[in-house]
Symmetry: D2
Subunit: 355 residues, 4 copies
């Protein structure tokens, strides 16, 4: 929020609305450690907006001379929406970093186990042979598609909000603020046209959904009776059973990803916003978007670690194929002959991943 106020002051100075000296004085105070968050949160309650006490405190801080140049022509929602986009922008960096790390780990697995036969399973039943590389390539293609969408969102949809009280402010200010903050400038203020926050939620949920699929597979493949993979690293202990090795990474991923769909529903339901500013639906976005970023971020970090440390057991894969052969699936006796185009598919996926 302080970065948004500072950028606004600079934009106003660039447009000749306030003196540069004022903009600099304001910027000098816009540092989070100068303000007490708890106080501002509490003082914001009576007006349902943390911006009101923040602006008051900022005006106090810059002193009487420049106070009237703080928050010039802006409305609370300008600051909060711009701040939300800044937060999202800053969160996307580490999320994309971890998603990229997870994709690299999946690519490594796809390459290393390109020709390692395992049971393909449908409806949780053994079906026909695949390779573990093909499964890892599936994970990879999901991660790459999700990353692509997040990157596109980051480039295109993270826009400032600077519409003023009823969305009629000159777009010149928004363009200046956008340039300064590294965000884009919207055609119109989007105070009640909530395509951006909803699309951000959906894009995070797409990544989260892919991570949930991967983690679900890891829980199933690391079940004792299957035993084809195992999470490496420390951890996974049980408070009651020493022999156990829990798939802690996968569980932690799922603990996050399972909370995402309900939050996405909240974001879409919140698109129904009244007139020039909503009474409730906008405010419901705040905590929901924070949760979406935090949960997706946690899930991605856990998934990366899980994939980077994954231990694969080709001999158990072979044993499980023998059971399948015994059950009458002739293809499983000689799996290499029945892998279809698995190798070709993996190679194509890896090639596209590298591109």
């Amino acid at each position: 929020m302080l970065d948004a106020e500072a950028a606004l002051a600079a934009a106003c100075a660039s447009e000749g609305l306030i003196p540069w000296e004022a903009a600099e004085a304001i910027a000098a105070q816009c540092s989070a450690d100068r303000f007490d968050r708890a106080t501002i949160a509490q003082e914001g309650a009576p007006d349902a907006s943390p911006v009101i006490p923040l602006v008051r405190a900022l005006r106090d801080a810059v002193g009487a001379e420049h106070a009237r140049y703080v928050h010039l022509g802006a409305t609370s929602q300008d600051i909060l929406d711009t701040a939300a986009m800044l937060v999202a922008s800053r969160a996307l960096g580490p999320i994309l970093g971890d998603a990229g790390g997870a994709a690299s780990a999946a690519a490594q697995l796809a390459g290393q186990y390109r020709d390692t036969p395992m049971c393909g399973r449908t409806l949780l039943q053994q079906a026909l042979p695949i390779t573990f590389g093909l499964r890892a390539a599936q994970w990879l293609v999901g991660l790459d598609e999700a990353r692509l969408r997040l990157e596109e969102f980051g480039r295109r949809d993270l826009a400032v909000q600077m519409g003023g009280p009823v969305g009629s402010r000159s777009p010149a200010i928004a363009r200046r603020v956008a340039e300064r903050l590294g965000l884009s400038a919207p055609t119109l203020p989007w105070h009640t046209i909530r395509v951006r926050p909803a699309a951000l939620a959906a894009t995070l949920a797409t990544l989260s959904g892919v991570l949930g699929k991967i983690a679900r597979d890891v829980t199933l493949l690391s079940a004792d009776e299957v035993g084809e993979v195992r999470e490496g690293g420390e951890g996974g202990g049980s408070s009651a059973m020493a022999h156990k090795r829990n798939p802690v990474g996968a569980v932690s991923v799922l603990a996050c990803t399972k909370r995402i769909p309900g939050l996405v529903a909240t974001m879409y339901a919140s698109m129904e916003q009244e007139h020039e500013r909503a009474a409730g639906a906008w405010q419901a976005e705040w905590g929901t978007l924070s949760d979406l970023l935090a949960l997706t971020g946690s899930a991605t970090a856990w998934a990366r670690e899980m994939l980077e440390r994954l231990e694969v057991d080709p001999s158990r894969m072979r044993q499980n194929l023998e059971r399948l052969a015994a059950a009458g699936a002739a293809e499983a006796s000689d799996p290499e002959e029945h892998l279809g185009a698995a190798g070709e598919l993996i190679d194509g996926t890896l090639e596209r991943h590298r591109a």
Copy 2:
């Protein structure tokens, strides 16, 4: 969690499994200020359970002599689920207190404005005369139904969890713990039969849904063009427009209630739990349930204040009826003749509220 551990130790002593001296030593350490939450949270990550480091720290605290009696026969989920029910139990007190306050305020409005005519409105269009008392009685009946369900839940469904690692522990321990904590004892451990948490979510959401209806009405009735009610008290200021008086209470209620349905979906989706302990679906409940309690609690406190301070404008109600009469609704010219059984309905609602 510490209360659960202390109750467990006492239960074990009662059943003769550990010395009473040990139980007392454990209880003496079970105080939240003796432990550092951040450390425990962080140390719990590698095993996806905060109970493991807590038990370790508690064992350290009680010393070598009694350490082995800490957490005896229990599993992490026993402690976390019991703690969740304790948290819920403690949160229900203030929630029911505020819901009761809101209901009293609605009852007061229903009585005071029993015979005050206003426009009934359907599909946001003026329809036929009602009284403001009837509208308040609607709010009241919703609050009373929601309170009744929460009270029932509190009496019947808040149960301890003490099943041990795979849910086969003797029910005697659970009964002792339940008695000590003022919760009920379940027929069976409910590690993966999640009727209780889901039903708690639904019961909170029922109250929240009623509050959302009331708050929506207040936003609509306090719109300048309608002007029939207005939130009293301080607050409601605008950072940009001095003439405005925002319905801050109603907005704050809706900011909470709009986040509830998605969280309820998460709780129901999480009922699909595997075997004797779930890999992800249980863990997804933790933060979701906390949010449900906090958001419902906030919404209820705001709604109570909003209703207690609500200012009603009978003359604007009369003016709006005149517009309706002018539009051709003969009933609006002489509203008192067309109020149907409004008075009787209000009286019946108030009577039932008092019972």
Copy 3:
């Protein structure tokens, strides 16, 4: 809807508002096969209400003499809400029937396999011995709790709606209609206080959530590598793999239950209804409630069949325990010694089920 109109006419006659002859003439026409649903649906679109063309058609059918006695004093929502509660009431019969059948099957399994050891599994890892009877008892307790809630709902919450255009109609009419239709009479009309439909959704979702847990267990236990249960009966074929035996019942249960949480969110979000009749939120309930009834009904029927036909393989359970023993869990070598209170817990559950 026709049953609601007929009951309304009879109630009006009982109250002396219309002649009994008219009520009888109306009742004689209130038969679904006399009206063309497609036409009524289509003609309802311009007014967003199927009741308007239905009343028109019913008036035509009863003839000029009695036409004015049709739908007397009622509003569209009275008829639709009462009809929804009648539909729910009629659907609860078979749902409770199948849920009872599923519970009986679970009770049968709990008794028959009371002492059959199997691996208890947590986080999908082998943990410690339980019995299959204990697992079935878990299923049973979930089914019994869900059934109890549905029965309570059926007894208490299925109420008629007869409030007239703005909810101010004398409660005497509602009481008469309720008596005639076997539903209860509400304190106040509930046109915009939607506790009932939301609570119905939650109660169906509770049953559905339990069914999803059972079905998830069946998919996991019938995985080839576990092989401890198998769905009996015909079906389960694969279009491509002759050796496969798919857990079709469990998959069909899950195909339904996974759709429920999102629908429940819609019902709770729809509680925010404006004034005396909502503009959209009420109408959004119609199809959602139908889906909830149909999906829960299907899931219950599938679950009953799945449980009634479940084939259990105690020798595979024993083999899997041997693997657990080999992994270092001493308890698994002699499981009968480590079953805790499993038998006692099963007996208590069965006793309560029979009560």
Copy 4:
């Protein structure tokens, strides 16, 4: 599904796997009117797949000579997923058509009322003057953003599925099928990587969310006390109150859009799919996706009609501004002086719309 089977046969012929004569014989039978849907639906239940009886019936229809060439190398999910994408592709045409019509109507309103002052409203309170053109431009920008996303999805993400039983089939077949059906070919089969269906749901929900915002505005602006717009055309009657004119289009839009967020949650929750084919999560998508397409389509058609017929009342807008002026907002006395950059913003939006 029949189109998918016909395209598969042609693809197999192109690849030299089956005779062209067989492909032609199969294509000749792939016509929906040759098969009884109810029978196929019913016969699909025991195997949880309608494809199995459809393939059986299709083999019967083509006769013994070509029967073995039907469904060659495919799995049920190949046919169902390809069919789902074809259905989506065919539904996107009319949805985009109506969304384009709605956008044109919004553009027309934005241009026509470019300089017509009205109250801007925040938190449902009168705030400062805007123009009705600016409000319509907001609607327009939302519609245009949503249309752009749907068009992108249609171009890029509608892909065939032809992976065979475990996703290892040569991509050559998928490419041939894609070319024939006008869909794209995926890098890998996406049997359990569900980015596409989830993203389709999100993209539909984005349009739906914008429509919900517009419809909410129409209900508020057409409230009698505001009276600034009114839905034109027939319809909007009340079964009980002759003077009423209900905003039927807006209500019908909201009746659809309010059901979307919960369905989106189901689609994202369903991304957690096991191994090579999911046990339940995939099947849960079927009806959900149909509902999303139907509800978004209905909402869009209603919104287009509502906007095309919207009647605007500039004199009521002026009267409401006078009330605002009386309340102390000096800007409202001379609104033209305080419209900020409204005109410039509208022009920019219209220019971008035309591009």
